[in-house]
């Protein structure tokens, strides 16, 4: 029964070390608070940015659908630049160049930068949603004498929402993960919190894996919600 004892010892040893590590990384000096606060900041930035993104995205969609060339061009250039440059670069430019001369809370800067970034993607999502609706729908509305905007609000958009909503939620998921780069502005978000713990305890695996698990749980939860939403929207198609 030698080996059984060896296994038992190993398990006990492992559990002890694990418990010790957990204590050292998360409990000692109240470090779990760093993760909770970091999570709060990540969520605040994500939610504010997506709301801003929806507002920006809607405005840009209107610009891009304008009858006039100049607003259309502005919308196009905005989306083109945002999509063609890395998020981190945009974040740094917003912080150091655009708000470089004024003293402003980096969290606010991050919200603005992510909001502007998300706006470009949201406008693409809305645009694709509108384009997915058959042209015959618009023609039917216009042939009844509805104006362009009435046709949009009563006929096209209510149908487009079904395509827009799930994709919009996906954009939100992407955004949450992307906010991990706000550490560049020394914002103590979730990722930065894990990194800070790592630098204090010199433990690599535990804090970083813990951060990954927290992100994963949030995203998993959202993804499940999106699937449920998609199922419900599809059901109303069949009636």
């Amino acid at each position: 029964m030698e080996w059984l004892n060896a296994v038992r010892d190993w398990i006990v040893n492992f559990c002890n070390t694990f418990a010790h590590d957990v204590y050292r990384n998360f409990i000692a000096e109240g470090r779990y608070w760093m993760l909770i606060d970091g999570l709060k900041i990540t969520i605040i930035i994500s939610i504010c940015a997506i709301l801003m993104g929806i507002v920006f995205g809607s405005i840009v969609t209107l610009l891009r659908r304008s009858r006039f060339r100049i607003p259309r061009a502005i919308g196009y250039v905005y989306v083109d630049i945002i999509r063609g440059t890395p998020m981190v670069t945009q974040l740094l430019i917003t912080y150091f160049v655009i708000f470089g001369s004024v003293h402003i809370d980096p969290v606010l800067v991050a919200i603005v930068a992510f909001g502007i970034n998300s706006g470009a993607y949201v406008s693409e999502i809305i645009r694709a949603g509108i384009l997915s609706i058959d042209k015959g729908q618009t023609e039917a509305g216009r042939s009844l004498g509805l104006s362009k905007s009435m046709t949009m609000t009563h006929i096209v958009l209510p149908q487009a929402v079904k395509n827009i909503l799930p994709t919009l939620c996906n954009e939100f998921v992407v955004l949450i993960k992307e906010t991990a780069v706000v550490g560049y502005l020394a914002i103590p978000d979730l990722t930065k919190a894990g990194d800070t713990i790592r630098s204090r305890t010199f433990d690599f695996d535990m804090p970083l894996v813990a951060v990954a698990i927290i992100y994963y749980i949030i995203i998993k939860f959202l993804t499940l919600a999106i699937s449920a939403l998609e199922r419900r929207l599809r059901k109303s198609d069949l009636r």
Binding site: D134, G136, Q137, E139, A140, G141, R142, S143, L144, G145, L146, S147, M150, H154, I155, P158, Q159, D237, L238, R239
Partner: protein, 245 residues
């Protein structure tokens, strides 16, 4: 009396392709115009130019004396007087049959909802679909969809009805129900312009037939006359081909 619809020198290009090559036509109140011709001859484009779903490249369209090709005109007001029925029905899938019919009267004419619904029920009775008021388009057959589409157009109380191949997307057994609604409408005195491949309908209901080919009206006249004794060579070839089938 001025013509209900007057078309002067109508040209339409799609890019470099000239689809309509100069059409002059007058349509009076109460006429049932049927337009036939080979595919690609410009029939649908001509019809769609009448309510500016296609904007003519050159030429003018007058509706009840108003030049609707004038860019300053309120085209929405003009379209309220011209109902249109499409080949693909184009019912609004997110709205019930009732809401499909009442949307425009409530939103544009600001008619009270109960009143609009009462009117809609009357129209549904006319097309024989009162039991479908609460249904959604996805639950209807093609023929039923098209009859609802006709009721929807009629809800705006138009003076003119445009039909763009209304039975071409239907299964054969459903063509009859739609044509019979259209016949009733014709008998009620509605001014109708119908692009169609239904030759027997054209012969029976049409008060005047336009044969279009390669962007012009190649021949026109009394449908019975044209069917029995076509003058234009192209009409002859076309009729021979479709009537032999």
């Amino acid at each position: 009396m001025a013509a209900m619809i007057k078309v002067e020198n109508l040209h339409k290009y799609f890019g470099k392709l000239e689809v309509l090559k100069g059409i002059d036509e007058e349509i009076d109140k109460g006429e049932k115009i049927v337009i036939i011709g080979p595919s690609g001859s410009g029939k649908s484009t001509f019809l769609r130019c009448l309510n500016l779903l296609e904007v003519p490249t050159k030429g003018d369209v007058f509706v009840e004396g108003q030049r609707i090709t004038d860019p300053k005109i309120n085209i929405n007001a003009v379209r309220q007087k011209m109902g249109m029925v499409f080949q693909q029905f184009n019912l609004f899938p997110h709205l019930s049959v009732m809401d499909n019919i009442t949307l425009a009267p409530i939103k544009i004419k600001k008619i009270a909802k109960p009143e609009a619904q009462e009117k809609a029920m009357e129209l549904l009775r006319k097309v024989g679909l009162t039991d479908k008021a609460k249904a959604y388009p996805a639950q209807l057959s093609g023929g039923q969809k098209q009859r609802i589409a006709i009721a929807r157009a009629l809800a705006m109380e138009p003076d003119i009805m445009l039909f763009d191949e209304p039975t071409s997307a239907l299964d054969p057994e459903m063509v009859g129900e739609v044509l019979s609604v259209m016949k009733d409408l014709a008998q009620s005195g509605m001014t109708m312009i119908v692009v169609t491949h239904e030759m027997s309908f054209a012969r029976e209901v049409g008060s005047r037939l336009l044969f279009m080919d390669e962007g012009v009206i190649a021949e026109q006249g009394d449908p019975k006359e044209i069917f029995s004794n076509p003058k234009n060579e192209r009409t002859k070839t076309f009729l021979k081909r479709v009537l032999n089938n």
